[in-house]
Symmetry: C2
Subunit: 196 residues, 2 copies
C-alpha cells in the first residue's frame, strides 16, 4: 500500500473499532491487525491513540460535510424538504448496517470527551459545523414562511441535532431504526409544522 | 463492612467508573481499589463484569424510579408542570457534578449494547419503565387538555426521552448544562405548547 492508502485504511478500521467499542475499548493492536499494517507504521502516521482518534473524527466530519452540502443545498426542494431528505438518507444508511454502528460523535462524547481536551475540541468543532448547516437551512425556512413563527432557527437547529443524537442512542439500545422514524415524525409533524 | 454494605459500595464505585469510562474502559481492578474490597470478595457477589454492570444498571434504575414516582405523581402540579419539575430537578443534579457524569443508560447504550444481550435487555427495561411513567403523565395532560391535540401522548413520551438523552450527550461534549436548558425551552415552549 502507498502511504496515503495505509493512512486511509487505518482511519477506516479505526472508525469501525471506535463505533463498535468506544474510545477506551478500541485497541490499536486489533485495528492494525484488521488493517494489515505493522505497528511501526502506525506511529509513523499518528503520535498517539488520541491523535489517531482525532484524525478519525476529522475524516468522519469531512464525509458528513460532503453529504450535508449535497442534501441541504438542493434548491429543487424547500428548506424543510431538504432537512427531511437529510434524515431519510441517514435512516437508510443506519438501516443497512449490521450491527448498527451509530454516530461517532455521540459515541466519543460519552466515552472520552471528559478525559481528552483534544478530542472534546474536535467533537465540539464537528457539532458546530453540523449546527451551522442546519441553522442555514432553518433560516431559509424562516424566510420562506415554512418555519412556525414561535421557533428560533438557531435554537431549533441545535435542538434537532441533540434530539437526533438521542434517537441514535436509543437505536443502539433497541437494535432498530424505529427511534429514527419516531424522531422524524415528531420533528416534522410535531415541532416544525404550523398547527395554528 | 457487612455483605450488604460491600455490595452497595461496589455498585456505587461501579456507577462512577462506568459513567466516567464506559463499559470497556471501566476496569474491575480500579473499582475494587476505590471500594477497598479484595478481588475474591467481588466474585462472591458477581459472576462477571457483565453481571456486575447489570446490577449497577438495576440500582441506577431503581433510584431513578423513586425520583420519578415522587415528581411525576405530585398532584399539587398540573401534568406538564410535573414533567418540567422532573427535568429541572435533573438539571440541578447534573449542574452539581464535576466532571459531568451524564446518563448511565445512554453511556452503556453506546459502548456495550451491541455486544451484550444481557445488558441490552437491562437497558431496554430501564428505558421502558421510564417511558411508561412519561406516558402516564402525558396521558393525564391529554385528559386535562394540557397537551396540544396533534401530539400522541405515547409517541411524545418516547420522543422526549430520546431528545433528552441527546441533550445529555451534547452536555458531555460541551461540559455545560446549556443543552439541557435548550431541551427544556424547545420541549415546553416549542413542542408541548398550544400555538393555535
Amino acid at each position: 500500500m502507498s502511504k496515503i492508502d495505509t493512512r486511509a485504511v487505518l482511519i477506516d478500521e479505526g472508525l469501525k473499532a471506535l463505533l463498535s467499542h468506544g474510545y477506551e475499548g478500541a485497541g490499536i493492536g486489533p485495528i492494525l491487525k484488521s488493517a494489515g499494517v505493522p505497528k511501526g507504521s502506525f506511529y509513523h502516521f499518528f503520535a498517539s491513540k488520541e491523535e489517531f482518534a482525532s484524525a478519525v473524527v476529522g475524516s468522519y466530519t469531512e464525509g458528513n460535510q460532503t453529504v450535508r452540502t449535497q442534501l441541504l443545498t438542493d434548491e429543487s426542494k424547500s428548506p424543510l424538504q431538504r432537512l427531511r431528505a437529510y434524515f431519510e438518507y441517514h435512516e437508510q444508511v443506519y438501516a443497512s448496517e449490521n450491527p448498527i454502528g451509530g454516530c461517532l460523535l455521540g459515541n466519543l462524547a460519552q466515552s472520552i470527551a471528559v478525559h481528552s481536551d483534544v478530542l472534546r475540541q474536535e467533537l465540539h468543532r464537528a457539532f458546530a459545523a453540523w449546527q451551522r448547516d442546519f441553522q442555514q437551512v432553518l433560516r431559509e425556512a424562516r424566510e420562506q414562511g415554512e418555519l412556525p413563527s414561535h421557533l428560533d432557527p438557531d435554537e431549533t437547529a441545535a435542538f434537532l441535532i441533540d434530539a437526533y443524537e438521542g434517537a441514535l442512542v436509543r437505536m443502539k439500545t433497541e437494535g432498530s431504526i424505529a427511534p429514527l422514524q419516531r424522531f422524524k415524525t415528531m420533528a416534522f409533524d410535531g415541532l416544525l409544522k404550523n398547527h395554528a
